[in-house]
């Protein structure tokens, strides 16, 4: 019995060690892998969280492109006026939209990404993906998401196409 326990623990340790070696090795050849030196830290720094008021200042100055990271249905229903839909998931659709908006993302404007609230996570996912693809300009995340923008009475476009 003691032998079985010992073998089980030893093999479990091997599974963990082999996974760690595989994971770290695969990361070095994965184009979407982590850059463990500097680069990742730079990407983290380039993601800045801003309030609805700060986002509105960028909006008024037309200095930012707003990206809606929510699902297509939510975007169609109500969105920041002028925002472009780039859903964070599914990943295939997200990458397709990024590639379609390639020109706009590469433009001179900064990027402001928002989703359904402060805890939705889609903004972070999309921001990470865009930063990972090498778009070097500053990426801003609307901290409290779309509800804070809408709640402040800033320009919103709804399903009827009208702005309010």
């Amino acid at each position: 019995m003691r032998q079985i326990v010992r073998t089980t623990i030893r093999d479990a340790a091997w599974i963990v060690i082999i996974s760690a070696v595989l994971g770290l090795s695969a990361n070095t050849v994965n184009p979407r892998g982590y850059s463990l030196v500097k680069k990742s830290a730079e990407r983290q720094k380039s993601l800045v969280r801003i309030s609805a008021l700060e986002a509105k200042i960028k909006y008024d100055a037309s200095s930012a492109l707003f990206l809606d990271a929510r699902g297509r249905d939510e975007y169609e229903s109500s969105r920041i006026a002028g925002a472009v839909s780039v859903p964070a998931s599914p990943e295939s659709l997200s990458l397709q939209r990024i590639s379609e908006e390639h020109g706009a993302l590469r433009g001179n404007r900064e990027l402001v990404i928002y989703c359904g609230g402060s805890a939705c996570g889609d903004s972070d996912t999309l921001a990470s993906r865009i930063a990972g693809l090498g778009y070097s300009r500053h990426i801003y995340i609307l901290q409290e998401g779309f509800p804070s923008w809408e709640g402040a009475g800033y320009p919103v476009r709804g399903s009827g196409g009208g702005e309010r």
Binding site: A12, I15, Y34, L36, Q44, T125
Partner: protein, 173 residues
């Protein structure tokens, strides 16, 4: 009543010994890990952003679980599906479930609600919610129970372990 209790006891005994039910559990859990590991391994940075959302590790340590967990899932998924080193793979899996349940529970207590990055089942579009919540803590604890069950099963049918054991016994004759 006595017959039903007797049947339940018989079924429990069969499961503890190893039967088609334990085979199905092993294959389903193995396939689940293979799928989620493959999805995460393709894009470690996206998975890393999910790990960071849990807010349990310093930023500098976030990339490491993001790089290793997908391969851990792939390896234990492979072991479980093939039936190789099942006890050890189940021990690793049960430990992972314990860690995941703890991480989710902490964030539920903080009032957070974000996609957990668990098995990526929401990508399949079958309506399974993977947003951090108490239901995911319960799910992970139940899965941990299943892995502990697999660890204690005596004979795993259709497994490499069983084949090797039989071959070893034959060579002793």
């Amino acid at each position: 009543m006595g017959t039903i209790t007797g049947r339940a006891k018989g079924l429990a005994r069969d499961i503890a010994y190893g039967n088609t039910i334990t085979l199905a559990i092993r294959l389903i859990l193995g396939a689940m890990f293979l799928y989620s590991g493959a999805v995460k391994a393709m894009d470690p940075e996206v998975f890393g952003s999910v790990v960071a959302r849990y807010n349990l590790l310093p930023d500098v340590l976030v990339p490491y679980p993001a790089m290793v967990i997908p391969y851990l899932e792939l390896l234990v998924g492979l072991c479980l599906a093939a039936g190789y080193r099942i006890r050890s793979a189940s021990l690793v899996s049960a430990s992972m479930m314990l860690v995941f349940a703890f991480a989710i529970a902490v964030n539920v207590a903080r009032g957070e609600a974000f996609r957990c990055g668990c098995f990526e089942l929401d990508r399949l579009g079958i309506g399974i919610s993977e947003t951090v919540g108490a239901h995911l803590v319960v799910r992970d604890v139940l899965l941990m129970g299943l892995f502990i069950l697999l660890m204690n099963v005596k004979k795993h049918v259709f497994s490499v372990d069983y084949y090797l054991e039989r071959r070893g016994l034959k060579s002793l004759r």
